[in-house]
């Protein structure tokens, strides 16, 4: 059975009132949702908030989902939109914070790993990605981390495939150069 067929069955079961089918869908996609949100927002707490928002949106709208696009693409679309909204809200919130509040906000950073090496890698990656403009970051993550085709990314972001390629390679170059700067520092 293909992934799409499996998803369709779970969606139909959920539409018929089977709540555990929704739980199964969450278990299936939660890591993808988390990592996309994490890379977009740059920290665990914000990503966790986005994950819960996305699940709430899915729960509310899944009954109306008609399988015209794949569930996988639809979930990424919701996660991307929610992450971008969250980043905008955060910018507004941060503009009202004092320096002390800001430092507290950063030092409260948590992680999903206890291993020092993994924590360092994660932090480095978060920092590098956060230096890309949000829309460019979205394209880079979908292409580089999620290995999506330009057509799929175009469906999610609403950008033409030509524009996507240019944006992706611009972001790619910047990321590698930031890795270099990090090495020098």
């Amino acid at each position: 059975m293909s992934i799409a067929e499996e998803d369709q069955i779970l969606i139909e079961e959920f539409k018929d009132g089977n709540e555990s089918s929704f739980n199964r869908l969450i278990l299936k996609y939660q890591q993808k949702i988390y990592w996309h949100a994490r890379r977009m927002t740059g920290n665990h707490f914000d990503a966790d908030e986005v994950v819960q928002e996305v699940l709430m949106v899915l729960y509310k709208n899944l009954k109306k989902f008609e399988m015209r696009s794949s569930l996988y693409t639809w979930i990424y679309k919701i996660t991307s939109t929610r992450s971008l909204n969250f980043i905008n809200r955060r910018k507004i919130k941060e503009s009202f914070l004092t320096d002390d509040d800001n430092s507290m906000y950063v030092t409260n950073e948590n992680s999903i790993t206890n291993k020092i090496e993994a924590k360092e890698k994660l932090e480095k990656l978060d920092n590098v990605l956060q230096q890309l403009p949000a829309k460019q970051r979205e394209i880079f993550i979908l292409r580089n981390f999620e290995e999506m085709s330009y057509e799929e990314i175009s469906e999610i972001t609403g950008t033409s495939t030509g524009g996507l390629k240019a944006n992706y390679f611009h972001a790619y170059k910047k990321v590698l150069e930031l890795m270099d700067e990090d090495n020098d520092g």
Partner: protein, 197 residues
């Protein structure tokens, strides 16, 4: 920087382009130097992407979601129910009080005190079982009900508008027929002792 370096590293060159690039790479020291630099950074980046994670966080996502969903459902129910109560109480009072009244509902209740509304709600509450949602999952119905009530409530300028707010299936025009004589007397007695308008 030669754009093909990143395209090569990202495996986005076709076979011909790939062969041509590799050929140039073997003949150009500068291109090779630049390529090596980005290839090394790319390896470092790929290495950074491989992170060993602790799964315990993921085990908690579903329970946390269910917890939040429950809270949301409860608060939505309370809001919808109390809003429906308030609105229905106003309508019931208006219709019972003055079935032939030409005064608009908004006009009728504009001088009500908080206590007057409270009394109206206390009266109407037992009669509002029609607003309870039988199916816990039927939140789309609840959503549209609350939305239409919220938007319409702001413009309750006539008896008809008031009736359209909640549900056309409920015959509010004949609601007085549903209230027994003793109940009606009790309401009238209560009302006569209060200055509502």
């Amino acid at each position: 920087m030669d754009e093909r370096i990143l395209q090569y590293l990202a495996n986005e060159l076709n076979n011909d382009e790939k062969l041509k690039f590799e050929d140039e790479l073997s003949r150009s020291t500068n291109l090779k130097k630049e390529f090596d630099k980005y290839a090394s950074l790319n390896s470092k980046f790929i290495n950074n992407k491989k992170i060993a994670i602790d799964d315990s966080y993921f085990n908690g996502i579903v329970p946390e979601f269910r917890k939040r969903l429950e809270v949301k459902k409860k608060s939505k129910k309370i809001f919808a129910f109390s809003f429906a109560n308030s609105l229905a109480a106003i309508i019931v009072f208006y219709l019972v009080l003055s079935p032939g009244n030409t005064t608009s509902l908004a006009e009728a209740v504009k001088n009500w005190t908080e206590n007057d509304f409270k009394n109206a709600i206390e009266y109407a509450e037992p009669k509002l079982s029609v607003f309870s949602i039988s199916n816990d999952n039927d939140y789309s119905t609840l959503d549209s009900l609350v939305s239409s009530m919220l938007s319409d409530e702001l413009n309750l300028t006539s008896n008809i508008a008031a009736l359209q707010v909640i549900d056309n299936s409920i015959d509010y025009k004949n609601l007085d027929a549903l209230v027994g004589d003793s109940e009606a007397d009790e309401i009238y007695n209560k009302i006569l002792n209060k200055k509502y308008f």
